[in-house]
């Protein structure tokens, strides 16, 4: 499967093709631990036409394609297939249009997530999805993985903001799906097929996103608890009081210590669990909710509740939480991140199970996550060079997945299946559903050209 690189050079320009070993090694991975594979070549097209022509050339040469943005994915979605063509979309990085009349923004896939929200801010608008890597992740990758973030509880996830897509199909033909209409029931909602498709159905070359009015006020609270259960109880009470804060994050002690080591902002490292709560909206509503939530926390076992004094302090707290996963890497050489999600009501059960499992297999685990939406990130701190320990990690992960499914949850809430969760996917689907997944792939990419072997093995 040797790549004829010069054919791609004719399409994207000779200097936009990488084939040397030293150039390819840094494209052999994404943000996922322990998965590495060398591509045959990496190309950097400049526009949709070049992407389409490159796909057609790959069809001619019969080589698989893996699409990549900034390579921050956490399930191996953009890790190459051996010898494949990597199409890296970082040069498609223009914000094409902001439409304040329709509250939309049209962007190329290589635009950085945070830049979209900053562009929206110029018009008093807001793009809420905020994955942990928003400072560098690309919107194309966010759409392909249907990324979540800290604000999922109130604002939803990437899917809730995608109104339209331009997609290059597996045969190199280009199509536009969706539009700027709030209501649209013409035919199947095809754009939705591509959201979260992990690069297996098409290559996203343009995205039309919905924006919302920017909340006028926000307030951030940090509540410390001496037990996990107390924190979970407080969360249930907040929701039961019919308050939907925009963020309801939970950090355990191990994670807290690592985050504090990194950012040194005076986090209460002695607490068993911390809840990070943010409410946003109309100033008076925000003020009321903050008071109510502080009281609920205190009434349900919080040792302390602090309100961030300034916008800057609040931003620091949120940013600290976003770095939690990477900060955990301080402890051991390898960090295996989980993404299991359960219905909110089952959350406390799930957290206890994770801790019991870690104990059972004698493993170190740090847990943090989005308590408001049931999305947990138990992170095993281990060493990939220790085969025996990795074996125990594997058993622990398997047990956690089984428990998740038993509680009516999902094996991945926001990171995607990719390679990392592939072996667990079939446990979550019944036979008919699992076959339907493959049927969709087969009808849109019959030659198995795009990101083959990700999510599931081809039929």
């Amino acid at each position: 499967m040797a790549i004829n690189a010069s054919a791609f050079g004719k399409i994207v320009g000779k200097d936009q093709v990488l084939t040397e070993n030293a150039d390819l090694i840094p494209y052999g991975f994404d943000g996922t631990a322990g998965i590495k594979q060398l591509p045959g070549a990496v190309i950097f097209p400049a526009d949709t036409a070049e992407v389409a022509a490159s796909v057609k050339e790959a069809v001619r040469q019969d080589i698989p394609i893996v699409t990549r943005g900034s390579g921050t994915g956490l399930s191996g979605g953009s890790v190459p297939i051996a010898g494949c063509l990597v199409i890296c979309l970082v040069r498609l990085d223009r914000i094409l249009e902001i439409d304040p009349a329709n509250l939309t923004i049209r962007v190329q896939p290589g635009v950085i997530t945070k830049d979209i929200d900053e562009a929206a801010l110029q018009h008093g608008l807001f793009y809420p999805p905020d994955p942990g890597s928003m400072k560098i992740s690309t919107i194309g990758g966010n759409v392909a993985e249907n990324s979540g973030g800290l604000r999922g509880l109130k604002y939803g996830v990437t899917r809730d903001y995608v109104m339209g897509l331009e997609v290059v199909q597996a045969d190199g033909e280009v199509t536009r799906l969706g539009n700027a209409c709030v209501k649209d029931v013409a035919g199947y909602s095809l754009k939705d097929l591509f959201i979260g498709s992990e690069g297996t159905l098409g290559i996203i070359t343009e995205v039309l996103l919905k924006l919302v009015p920017r909340p006028k006020a926000r307030k951030t609270l940090m509540a410390t608890f001496s037990s996990m259960e107390a924190a979970a109880e407080a969360v249930s009470r907040i929701i039961a009081a019919q308050i939907i804060p925009c963020t309801l994050e939970f950090i355990d002690q191990v994670t807290l210590q690592c985050v504090e080591d990194y950012c040194q902002i005076g986090l209460p490292v002695e607490a068993a669990a911390v809840l990070l709560i943010e409410t946003d909206g109309h100033p008076s509503a925000v003020a009321d909710e903050a008071v109510a939530m502080e009281k609920i926390c205190r009434d349900h076992g919080a040792d302390d509740v602090k309100v961030a004094a300034t916008e800057e302090d609040a931003a620091k707290l949120a940013s600290a939480r976003r770095q939690a996963f990477s900060a955990l890497a301080r402890v051991r050489p390898t960090t295996i991140l989980e993404d299991v999600t359960v219905p909110r009501s089952e959350l406390a059960k799930m957290v206890s199970f994770v801790n019991e499992t870690a104990e059972k297999y004698q493993l170190q685990v740090g847990t943090f996550g989005h308590m408001g939406d049931g999305n947990l990130h138990p992170t095993f701190l281990t060493d990939e060079k220790n085969a025996e320990e990795m074996e125990r990690v594997h058993h622990a992960l398997s047990d956690i997945v089984d428990k998740t499914i038993e509680l009516g949850g999902t094996v991945t809430g926001e990171h995607g299946v990719g390679l990392a969760k592939k072996e667990y996917l079939s446990r979550q689907f019944d036979t008919t559903g699992f076959a339907m997944l493959k049927l969709v792939k087969k009808s849109l990419d019959p030659d198995n050209r795009l990101n083959p072997g990700k999510i599931f093995d081809p039929a």
Partner: protein
């Protein structure tokens, strides 16, 4: 003694990087190229490939390590606590030791600067004297017009305009061996003063200002003569053994008074970052004590408390602060210089966008990688232009010269100075220009 290689490095140092990508937006060369290879995690992947035996130490790794500024912005951005400094210095040392790497021109320039100029303080001072005569005579303009330096070879020709403007008085000429606080100021203790190498010749005035500020705050100041280079240039440019030699030379100059000194003060971000880690290159008890005593001037003033200058200025000017990489990323000193600037009566500070991004000076990077350095400088000047500042303040001789050059090139009427100089000036204004007692 052989220098450490990537294969000798504790594997956990390399493994610490979990390639999450958080470093990418902080890296100036990734910003310029958008190529993973030119990013921190990409470079670490290459180093790891060398350690794993998947990649040879050859021209490609050398090229990449030389392309890295060593600005350490990635270490601030890294949540996982990756020790990039060690990896970077090890990789540079290993590539420099390899016969396969580098161009003849680059090798010559590097040899000239590291082995000939910055190793011998006397030689450096002699060059300084000659440069001063040359620059004062106005000959430099004529010589440059006629491209005469190029008769000595292209490398020297490229280097000549990069030589900084020399001060009228060098540090040893304007600072006495011992100076004591003026009458009426309570003596709080004794500190040593590091004059730096380039700093000592081209920024002797900043050194003078630093001493003045220390005196005003009750510190007696000991300044050894003709000080050696600290070795940071050598450590960052793959010459760890030379770095050890220069470090030992420098420490021995302080040896006599060292036990009695409360602190050893540095005012150059680039030097400070290295000066605080002598124990990593020198195996001696004194090196450990030395590391604890070295303080950046801003850090020292804020930590020990300094006199806030008083005054009610009729006219307030806007300044902006560019952070020296090795002050903010290397030493984690971010708030202290700002605190000092905010205490000045005649100035209003405006935050510089991307203030902690490298200006492209990066030691001798601007000489060895002029094109990339210029690209990075252009972005810095663009950021400065976005503010309304009439003055850029920074605290490292490299940054000072680089930004000054950039502003000049873009025809901008914005001055460059250092926080400690503005503080000294405020003290002078307040005390009615009365000179400090130098007895």
């Amino acid at each position: 003694m052989r220098a450490l290689t990537l294969k000798d490095l504790d594997y956990s140092v390399l493994q610490q990087c979990m390639h999450c990508g958080m470093c990418l937006p902080s890296c100036p060369t990734y910003e310029s190229t958008k190529r993973e290879r030119h990013s921190p995690r990409g470079r670490i992947a290459l180093m790891r490939a060398v350690a794993d035996g998947d990649l040879d130490v050859g021209a490609e790794l050398a090229e990449e390590m030389n392309y890295c500024l060593g600005c350490l912005a990635c270490t601030t951005a890294c949540p996982a606590g990756v020790d990039y400094t060690t990896m970077f210095e090890t990789a540079r040392a290993e590539t420099e030791a390899s016969p396969l790497t580098g161009t003849v021109k680059r090798r010559f320039l590097r040899w000239l600067l590291l082995n000939q100029v910055f190793l011998y303080p006397g030689r450096l001072q002699l060059i300084g004297h000659l440069l001063r005569i040359y620059q004062n005579s106005g000959l430099d303009l004529i010589v440059r017009k006629l491209k005469l330096p190029y008769l000595l070879g292209r490398s020297i020709g490229d280097l000549e305009p990069a030589a900084p403007q020399m001060n009228r008085e060098f540090s040893d000429e304007c600072i006495d061996l011992w100076e004591h606080p003026p009458e009426g100021v309570k003596v709080r203790g004794k500190v040593g003063m590091l004059t730096g190498c380039v700093q000592s010749l081209a920024f002797a005035d900043v050194n003078r200002d630093t001493v003045d500020v220390l005196l005003h705050n009750g510190w007696s100041v000991f300044t050894p003569r003709t000080q050696a280079c600290c070795g940071s240039l050598h450590a960052h440019n793959g010459a760890p053994l030379l770095a050890r030699q220069t470090g030992e030379n420098l420490m021995s100059q302080f040896e006599r008074e060292f036990p009695g000194l409360d602190a050893v003060i540095t005012n150059a971000g680039g030097c400070g970052s290295h000066l605080k880690h002598f124990s990593s290159v020198i195996d001696a008890d004194m090196a450990t004590q030395w590391d604890e005593k070295v303080k950046d001037i801003h850090e020292f003033l804020v930590e020990t408390g300094y006199r806030i200058p008083e005054g009610s200025e009729a006219e307030i000017h806007a300044l902006t602060y560019h952070e020296s990489c090795h002050l903010c990323h290397g030493q984690g000193i971010k708030s202290q210089p700002r605190e000092i600037l905010d205490s000045l009566p005649a100035w209003q500070r405006e935050e510089l966008p991307h203030s902690d991004t490298c200006c492209g000076s990066a030691g001798i990077y601007n000489v060895l990688q002029p094109e990339e350095s210029a690209r990075i400088l252009d972005r810095k000047i663009e950021s400065i232009e976005k503010t309304s500042a009439t003055c850029v303040v920074t605290s490292n001789p490299g940054c000072h010269l680089q930004i000054q050059g950039g502003l000049q090139k873009h025809g901008l009427d914005i001055s460059v100075t250092q926080p400690v100089s503005l503080l000294a000036e405020a003290y002078r204004i307040q005390s009615g220009n009365s000179p400090v007692d130098k007895s």
